[in-house]
């Protein structure tokens, strides 16, 4: 029986959960080398076989375009040129995982050095192949084993998070990570308790854990007193949850009677299946990145249209803000984003990436214009820095609408607005008369204003949206929107955080968009605040 161990990290998503502890096998660290070169060789060969089988199975379930990408991956794995350097290393005494990683590292390096952007983007394919085989080599389980579990590891990718069915409970505890990462955002959306920045933790021998996402505390091998604390915390939360659930269905009004719009942030259309449109004033942010993270590569117009239409219909006649692809930074998309940029957060991301790939961008704009027929659709451009970017996007959008009209496809030209997250825009919002609306992306705005990355644990303390400089910029954007006669909202995490709501209302903001699970909490807080009209 292991001794109880307690560690404190940083809270990233509220809630308490308990479950079996599963160490996420990102690397070969999980697998113990056998020390027998023949076993190592056989293990690698069988891991590659299983990876090929898994990719083939997937290829049968996707469209032709995606299948072609998977076929390329299979062809690479089946080429002895890729595998034989690994076998040679194994023969010289290296273990299977290290040998495979080294062989792939050599390949990845040659693509990183490519001058052509297309070939450089193949780095993502090769990393996928490397990790897929390592995963099979480690005997790592797929999503199924992670259900209801406390998942521990250095960090977790958004796609890994999304592969787990969280309806059966579970929590995340990371040695590294950040409360502002996209997985943390997803965790808050789904109500999955999560803590980050635990530092190195030796999990050996521990099979169960309790995670408290409110305090950032994890208990390994809990004793009976821990379990009773856990049960009463669960009960208290159930009471609070009931209160928030009631508040969520009421309109948001401040203590002095000022109505506030509370919209919701949505990452996947499926989230709406469990939600009642009456809880919100619309969808203030639909993140479209997740359409681009499927195993099948870039989504075609029809699959995008189907997703956007579903959202537009769900909310109609309330507005739905569809954000165009916000890839880059910490959200790479295989084959599209630029790999190896020295500082991806200051690189080709958001609208910059979309304008660099107008053909791919137009597929998205077409799908959005078609969905606009089914509801109150608005299009929002992320990472805008200068007004010319809005002009260029408007030209493309107009062209898409004209092409659809010429082809007899029903479509509508939605209003085109911008996300305010680059300080250049927040400082001089009056330059953006060509934007139909503003939505303040407080997460990125905070990271750019405080020069502290959202995914670096060591500086995460500086990444504070409550910083007076951030609040002052938000007030400036609200004033700029009023001068231009456009509307303004805020779709970052601070909109749903009771600690910041009073400051946002004082800055003049009258509309926020928050994670669906935070709607009740935000409305309860708004009801306590006196807003100066």
């Amino acid at each position: 029986m292991q001794h109880t161990v307690e560690r404190i990290g940083r809270p990233a998503s509220p809630g308490v959960a308990a479950g079996p502890l599963v160490l996420l096998g990102e690397n070969h660290a999980l697998r113990t080398p056998t020390g027998d070169s023949r076993r190592e060789r056989d293990d690698l060969a069988s891991a590659i076989d299983r990876a090929v089988g898994a990719i083939r199975a997937l290829a049968g379930k996707v469209d032709d375009e995606a299948a072609a990408i998977l076929e390329f991956q299979v062809a690479m794995l089946e080429d002895s040129e890729l595998v034989s350097p690994a076998y040679e290393q194994i023969a010289r005494g290296t273990d299977a995982a290290a040998a495979w990683s080294a062989a792939l590292a050599d390949q990845i390096r040659t693509y990183e050095e490519a001058t052509d952007e297309y070939f450089r983007a193949r780095v993502a394919d090769l990393r996928d192949l490397r990790d897929e085989v390592l995963r099979h080599l480690a005997g790592d389980a797929g999503g199924e084993m992670l259900e209801g579990a406390v998942i521990a590891g250095e960090d977790v990718t958004p796609s890994r998070f999304l592969s787990v069915d969280w309806s059966r409970g579970g929590a995340i505890a990371l040695f590294g990570g950040s409360p502002s990462s996209h997985v943390a955002m997803l965790a808050r959306t789904r109500g999955v308790p999560m803590i980050v920045g635990l530092g190195p933790v030796d999990l050996a021998g521990h099979v169960e854990a309790i995670v408290d996402g409110d305090t950032g505390r994890i208990v390994l091998s809990p004793q009976s007193s821990d379990w009773s604390t856990y049960r009463s915390a669960r009960a208290a939360r159930t009471g609070r949850a009931a209160e928030e659930g009631t508040a969520a269905m009421q309109p948001a009004v401040t203590a002095n009677g000022v109505p506030i719009k509370v919209m919701i942030n949505v990452a996947m259309p499926e989230e709406l299946d469990r939600l009642d449109p009456a809880m919100c004033d619309g969808i203030g942010l639909f993140r479209t990145e997740f359409l681009f993270h499927g195993e099948g590569g870039l989504p075609d117009e029809e699959s995008q249209y189907a997703a956007y239409r579903k959202i537009a219909k769900w909310a109609a006649p309330k507005p739905v803000v569809l954000r165009t692809l916000d890839a880059g930074g910490d959200k790479p998309v295989a084959g599209l984003t630029v790999a190896g940029e020295s500082n991806p957060f200051l690189g080709t991301r958001g609208i910059r990436l979309s304008l660099a790939w107008p053909d791919i961008f137009k597929v998205q704009l077409r799908a959005m214009a078609r969905a606009a027929v089914h509801g109150n659709v608005r299009i929002m451009l992320p990472m805008v820095t200068v007004p010319e970017e809005v002009d260029q996007a408007a030209v493309l959008l107009d062209a898409c609408v004209a092409e659809l009209a010429a082809a007899g496809v029903p479509a509508r030209r939605p209003p085109l607005g911008i996300m305010v997250e680059v300080p250049a825009v927040a400082i001089a919002p009056e330059l953006f008369a060509n934007a139909a609306f503003f939505s303040i992306g407080s997460n990125d705005l905070t990271q750019y204003v405080t020069a502290s990355a959202r995914d670096i644990t060591a500086v995460a303390g500086l990444n504070d949206p409550g910083n007076p400089a951030v609040i002052r910029l938000i007030a400036n954007v609200v004033a700029g929107a009023a001068a231009l006669g456009g509307d303004v909202s805020l779709c970052g995490d601070m909109g749903g955080d009771p600690r910041h709501i009073a400051a946002l209302l004082a800055a003049g903001l009258r509309s926020v968009s928050v994670a669906p699970t935070l709607v009740g909490r935000a409305k309860l807080k708004i009801a306590e605040v006196v807003a100066v009209p």
């Binding site: 072609a68 390329f72 062809a75 690479m76 080429d79 040129e81 390949q107 297309y118 070939f119």
Partner: protein
């Protein structure tokens, strides 16, 4: 046993160059022949095994380059002719592209 040698060149017109999907098609076709088949973006080499997707992709051949083939073996002439034909037909992708635009 007759050892046959063959060679030829063709202009690569594909939009991105010799990228993933064309490379899969090219290596698959090359593997259907007995002959040893090699390709190079230059008549002087370096010569690359046309049956290895890893080698072909690593060559990162861009659009607008003349692709040179050479083959040694019983069906060398057929192999070179077939591969040149595939590149000339733009890897049979023209129709698919037109359907998308």
């Amino acid at each position: 046993m007759s050892q046959e040698d063959a060679s030829g060149a063709v202009l690569l017109t594909h939009a991105v160059g010799l990228h993933a999907r064309p490379s899969v098609k090219l290596t698959k076709l090359a593997k259907t022949f007995q002959a040893r088949v090699e390709l190079s973006p230059s008549p002087e080499g370096p010569w690359i095994d046309a049956k290895s997707i890893v080698k072909v992709m690593a060559a990162k051949v861009p659009q607008g380059v003349h692709l040179h083939f050479r083959a040694v073996g019983d069906d060398a002439a057929n192999a070179v002719a077939a591969l040149i034909g595939l590149v000339e037909r733009d890897f049979d992708e023209a129709r698919a592209d037109a359907a998308h635009s």
